[in-house]
Homo-oligomer: 404 residues x 2
């Protein structure tokens, strides 16, 4: 019984990190794993074969986006997300909560994963994001009323509605409806929002259990509480005490607190269930997360950065349109096994960006996805082989964050 | 000796059409064949594996574009066009003449393949086309001075320079520098331009022969003369009498004259050399061209139309964003063997277009390239099997031109 099975293979000595196997109705995931974001039931600028070839094990669609277009009923009628988008491996959807607050109602009002950073949890076109002017959230105890960022039409999500929509979409792993606050929100509001998220978690779970889908789809509860230790611990205890199949950790904290906050939470969450850190992240965050017991990560950065010409290398990110690459006929990284590095030069990719060619974003995204997916695979292997710390230190001593 | 070999396998009884094999330094082409246009050394929105999987045998890059960005010297330093773009099959470049007149100097001044239609010979981004305001062409006996459509900088092409640039780019088949006139230009000007094109053809050939490249690259001369029977025949005789490896037919005529004009030319051109109809076409034009002895066609329509959501079917083109496809879970065409039709529904592709997703153009382009490439393959098979006329009639009785 239950839609997923999770087995821990090996633990990081004296720490929370672990390597495991997560069995889903659409195949196994070796954890820790990076989840590639396919907001609109497609990973921007790459096709599913390319995504798979990068080593991707699991893909996440955004409930808010799919609800608005093409509509969750249509995805259901198409035979579900897997069939609709031709991705036959494991899938997830988020609850829509984050986008309701960030895109739907309070866009650019400061609801972000990290204070002062962008939304990294759904891969929305920049031009689309700006269609509708921001509106205040209309939150009540029952749910949230919001305006579509596409056409300004009014919509309402409740915990029950979010789960119903996610049942229609049909991903293997789905999330309870939560309120995601800004890390800079006042403490009192953080607490209110967290308490509401706990009540919504119970309602999400009750609705899910009342439906036959609970055998085919796993429900993850979301821990909130911002950057406050007491709130995080209360939330981990409350959510961790409910009968969820796994847990999400809402990534609302300052970047420098991330590892610590994840540790507070994962020390409390039941060890035997998988944990997903939502909307994170950057290579340095991934090492921190794995070390502190995170099993799954999702983030739009690999694809979004690539479309802007920012490419991961072991030394940090580089802007591929930089003049020094114009006549550089070597691959992005000589020892990289990705399709892009096997077949194309920096000069060619730089030319594609200068010519505004779509293949530019494709080749960049393939490399960045491969880089990030395999970084998490390397961290996993480090846990299994007992050299996690050495691998982490070797990576971090070379990788310069905040480049290009 | 000579860079290519052409062998006619079978002729259409009592007509000019023929099926053949064209051997190039990068492989054989079964003719008649459709050449897919990769203007900037990439086929827009698809990668080379996808292009190949569609049945594509040969790809054409645009000299004008590659000269401006990344520069022909850079392509040479990269190891040539094949290596630079990772397409290891046969390639062509045009002479740059058409773009010098249409994009570089007299954009939207009426220099088009067919009167009142768009430029179909290079796949330029719409936004790029409009960067620089149109300028009059500055043509003299020696060559053409033109303004870059990218940044307004001044450049000069002569026949010798065009060939030198094409030698640097390194395609298997290249074209003599020509002046492409509008079909609506006055007869006197058509004649002057044609005579100049003949002088430029000889200079192109002389320069080509003086270089060691002539053993590795085949040079095609271009027949001009607009829609005028006398001019076309003079041009075919003049150009056909020079020692070119093959011939291009400049596609400057009215749509309804196309078959007739091609016939005038191909009755005169030496039978044993391949003929390429430049910048054509539409399915109906392709049948006409094959019947009248054309061996190669290139056109941007399959990819350009696809990016705008216009998809070829055996009944004509359809706008895939049409409301009737929103909930249509069948493929574009049930009996189509392309990747798109094997894996995706009309509803999904329609959703991708509505979501402004890059995969929309990719899936559409794959289907359209497959459709057109295989239409020409079918026509070829019809010549070999002796049922060309039946196949043509069956196709044309069903296919409605000018739809969607």
């Amino acid at each position: 019984m239950g839609a997923i099975k999770f087995k821990i293979e090996k633990k990081l000595k004296g720490q929370l990190g672990r390597a495991g196997i997560l069995e889903t109705p659409h195949g196994k995931i070796e954890t820790p794993a990076f989840v590639v974001v396919g907001t609109n039931a497609t990973i921007k600028s790459v096709n599913v074969e390319q995504v798979k070839e990068c080593g991707t094990q699991v893909v996440l669609g955004n409930t808010y986006h799919l609800y608005l277009q093409p509509g969750d009923r249509l995805v259901k009628d198409a035979g579900g997300l897997h069939k609709f988008m031709n991705w036959h491996g494991p899938t997830m959807t988020d609850s829509g909560g984050f986008q309701v607050f960030s895109l739907g109602v309070a866009y650019k009002k400061g609801i972000t994963k990290f204070a002062k950073t962008e939304d990294l949890h759904d891969d929305t076109n920049e031009k689309e994001e700006n269609k509708i002017s921001p509106q205040l959230a209309v939150i009540d105890e029952e749910g949230v009323t919001f305006k579509s960022h596409r056409d300004g039409s009014m919509h309402r999500f409740t915990p029950e509605r979010s789960i119903e929509i996610q049942h229609n979409i049909g991903a293997d792993m789905i999330f309870a409806f939560d309120e995601c606050t800004s890390p800079s929100a006042p403490l009192q509001y953080q607490k209110e929002a967290m308490d509401r998220t706990h009540r919504w978690a119970k309602r999400s779970l009750d609705y899910h259990k009342s439906q036959p889908h609970s055998e085919k789809q796993a429900l993850f509860g979301i821990v909130q509480g911002g950057r406050h230790e007491d709130l995080r611990k209360i939330s981990a205890k409350q959510i961790g005490g409910m009968d969820f199949d796994g847990f999400g950790i809402g990534g609302s904290f300052n970047k420098e607190d991330m590892g610590t906050a994840v540790k507070w939470v994962n020390e409390i969450l039941p060890e035997e269930k998988p944990r997903h850190l939502l909307g994170i992240g950057e290579p340095t965050d991934l090492w921190e997360g794995v070390e502190n017991g995170v099993d799954l990560f999702d983030c739009v950065l690999p694809t979004r950065l690539a479309r802007n010409g920012s490419i991961y290398t072991k030394d940090g990110r580089v802007g591929i349109t930089n003049a020094r690459f114009t006549k550089d006929f070597s691959p992005i990284e000589k020892d990289c096994g990705c399709y892009t590095c096997q077949n194309y030069s920096r000069a060619y990719i730089s030319h594609l960006f200068r010519s505004d060619e779509m293949l530019a974003g494709t080749l960049g995204s393939i490399h960045n996805i491969y880089f990030i997916v395999n970084l998490v695979k390397t961290a996993r292997q480090g846990i299994l082989d007992g050299n996690f710390r050495e691998l982490k230190e070797a990576f971090l001593s070379r990788f310069r964050p905040n480049t290009a």
